[in-house]
């Protein structure tokens, strides 16, 4: 008897949203003995559900596989890697994947997310082992030298933040992972947690060791129940493996993790609001200073980093800062996990060194719009990011280049719109979103956003357009200058970019 064929069907929630569970069930019912492994997603989301079959030639992919088609596909020889109109060939060789530089996402989609054996077989724990063999100070220095900057939006150098926490004395310190990922167009944190959770466990443990913290929290938004479940299981498994707990990898170092679930508030992604929420309070933004690195969770020195920042750390420790630093351009070093979203033909996760142009990413890899219509605007960096017009797509994907163009890279989310988009409506939505999600602590944001919606409505209705446009400009200035945090402070960015590049959309239509 021949050994059962191994078939991969993703358990990533994007894949589940288009029927991956049903596909797995249909495959198991198809009659031949098979071993189904539920992997993370490869990140080629337009191909989901993407079924991969292990053959002598490598893993052969089929997608998008609708559950109803499984029977036909099996009859056509899917389990032997036979040709078919849905057959994509050897997955690793697809240009979309082969052209990426996957460091943070190296294992996502390849392994069984909750298999410690898979994790170790694919290089897991090498970074933590190397870290534990050195002093905490050396680990901080390595992260600083790598040039790693925060991937949550602000791009603050991770090593400098860690050094502040390390240098602040005190027996109790914390590492908090920001997994609130509220920006529209972003899903890489979720995919990492669902597809390779041990990497985050390892990265946080390295951070804890480096700064002298013994406990960490992962704050995951409640919209991500699958990620919550996977992370909780991964933590249990890690404890059983001796990767967490009182004696991490036999080193005598203590570190443990807890998952906390948000409750539907975008502002809890702002780090101080997240800390308040972790303390069981309303997610009200704190005034800075004091900074969280010195006075953070429960008043203790705290590292707050995004999922992707922390998940990049194991590879940096394993392969050394120079290898990471060698990638990228200018002051944007290493790789960024870009997310192609919205009206895009080939959406998904694309990890690459900084410096590629936005156009290459959106057109060459993303295949432009899903509707086939011309691209009109691209919003980069979430709801607080600027709208870039089609003519601006040649911008290199790099922090400072975006900043000088009045835009921001943020968490790497790229949302594409075709020529049917109404940019006045999008500007209005930015204000509406801010009004809805403001924590309410300061007036420019709380009141300004509500006024912003009203003013845009009047402009579009043709009521004193010049006066109201001037008013909108003043309002944007007030919000930018007078808001306590970037929620109110950056909401004008999408609004102003829409006004600047698409002024005609704001003239009255009758």
């Amino acid at each position: 008897m021949t050994a059962p064929v191994t078939v991969y069907v993703p358990c990533d929630s994007a894949a589940l949203s288009v029927g991956a569970d049903l596909v797995a069930a249909e495959l198991e019912a198809a009659g031949r003995p098979i071993r189904v492994v539920r992997n993370g997603s490869r990140g080629m989301l337009w191909l989901e559900p993407l079924v991969e079959v292990v053959t002598d030639r490598g893993r052969i992919g089929y997608g998008p596989v609708e559950p109803e088609r499984v029977g036909d596909l099996v009859a056509a020889g899917l389990l032997d890697g036979a040709d078919h109109e849905l057959c994509q060939g050897v997955v690793d060789q697809l240009p979309w994947l082969a052209d990426q530089t996957r460091i943070c996402f190296a294992r996502v989609g390849i392994t069984d997310p909750l298999s410690p054996e898979d994790y170790l077989a694919h290089g897991g724990m090498a970074g933590l082992r190397r870290a534990l063999a050195r002093s905490g100070g050396d680990v901080v220095a390595e992260v600083t030298e790598s040039g790693l900057r925060g991937r949550g939006g602000a791009g603050f150098p991770a090593g400098i933040k860690w050094k502040t926490v390390a240098d602040t004395p005190g027996p109790d310190k914390f590492v908090c992972c920001n997994a609130d990922e509220g920006d529209s167009g972003t899903f890489a944190d979720r995919m990492l947690m669902e597809g390779d959770p041990f990497t985050l466990v390892e990265g946080m443990t390295i951070a804890g060791y480096a700064v002298g913290a013994q406990e960490g929290y992962i704050y995951i938004r409640s919209e991500y129940p699958d990620a919550v479940r996977t992370m909780r299981k991964a933590i249990e498994i890690a404890r059983a493996q001796g990767w967490l707990g009182g004696d991490v990898l036999g080193s005598g170092v203590r570190f443990d993790l807890h998952v906390r679930v948000g409750a539907g508030a975008y502002i809890c992604g702002e780090e101080t609001a997240m800390l308040e929420s972790l303390e069981g309070k309303r997610g009200m933004v704190r005034a800075k200073p004091p900074i969280p690195a010195i006075t953070g969770l429960f008043g203790k020195p705290t590292v707050v980093n995004n999922v992707l920042t922390l998940a990049s750390v194991p590879a940096i420790l394993a392969d050394g800062a120079p290898a990471y630093q060698a990638l990228g351009v200018e002051r944007s070093r290493g790789t960024q996990v870009f997310q192609l979203a919205g009206n895009i033909a080939r959406g998904g996760v694309f990890e690459t060194a900084f410096g590629l142009s936005l156009r290459d990413l959106v057109e060459r890899y993303g295949g432009a719009t899903r509707t086939g219509r011309p691209i009109r605007a691209v919003q980069v960096g979430g709801p607080l990011g600027a709208y870039v017009p089609e003519s601006g797509l040649d911008l290199p994907l790099e922090y400072e280049a975006f900043a000088s163009a009045g835009a921001m890279l943020g968490h790497g989310g790229i949302v594409v719109f075709d020529d049917t988009v109404d940019m006045a409506a999008m500007a209005r939505f930015a204000m509406e979103f801010c009004a809805e999600e403001s924590c309410g602590k300061c007036t420019p944001c709380r009141v300004g956003a509500v006024r912003g919606v009203e003013v845009i409505d009047r402009i579009v209705a043709g009521e004193d357009p010049d006066g109201n446009l001037a008013l909108l400009g003043d309002l944007c200035e007030l919000m930018t200058d007078g808001s306590l945090c970037a929620m109110g402070g950056l909401t004008p960015m999408p609004v102003r970019s829409a006004l600047l590049h698409f002024p005609d959309d704001f003239t009255a239509r009758h």
Partner: protein, 173 residues
């Protein structure tokens, strides 16, 4: 299994017998989190998961048990959209209205759902079968328009696919 609308998959749903009053259950939940720092949110999530909403009645109980003021507890409950003040319909449908889903027709989908169900966002059908809500981002931004039906995220929605999913839910109820 008893299905509680809005109950999260990561919570163990335990439905109290006829003698367990809400107050006793809440005390038991607080006790289960006794060792946790800043445990109010996890406790509220469990209350929401068990009862489908957070009753006003629990405010003084939580305040006393956790040594907080009633105003503090009330403030937290009302700050977060996840905590309902009254039970939802048997099925909760959350349509994503964030930018990525808007770029592929989320607003039209909202309009369709409102018309098909005869209710607006934020409302429940008169027969208590469906609550329709908006959500800003489900992390399914390459496969929009997306929605969440109870806990399940669905992608590549069209008006007809949404209708089919709602009809399937109605048959299961």
């Amino acid at each position: 299994m008893v299905r509680i609308a809005g109950a999260a998959r990561w919570e163990v749903v335990v439905v109290g017998g006829p003698n367990t009053s809400m107050t006793d259950r809440v005390r038991a939940l607080v006790a289960a989190h006794r060792g946790d720092r800043g445990a109010l949110l996890p406790i509220l999530h469990r209350i929401q998961a068990e009862f489908g909403y957070v009753d006003q009645e629990v405010v003084p109980v939580l305040a006393a048990e956790l040594n907080l003021s009633r105003a503090d507890v009330h403030g937290v409950i009302t700050f977060y959209t996840d905590f309902r003040s009254e039970p939802a319909g048997r099925v909760v449908v959350k349509l994503c209205r964030a930018e990525a889903c808007q770029s592929v027709g989320a607003e039209q989908l909202v309009a369709h759902a409102e018309q098909a169900l005869g209710i607006k966002l934020g409302q429940t059908t008169p027969d208590g079968s469906v609550t329709l809500e908006q959500v800003f981002c489900l992390g399914n931004c390459a496969l929009g328009p997306a929605a969440q039906i109870d806990e399940r995220v669905v992608g590549r929605l069209s008006p007809s696919r949404l209708d089919a999913l709602l009809a399937a839910e109605a048959r299961m109820a």
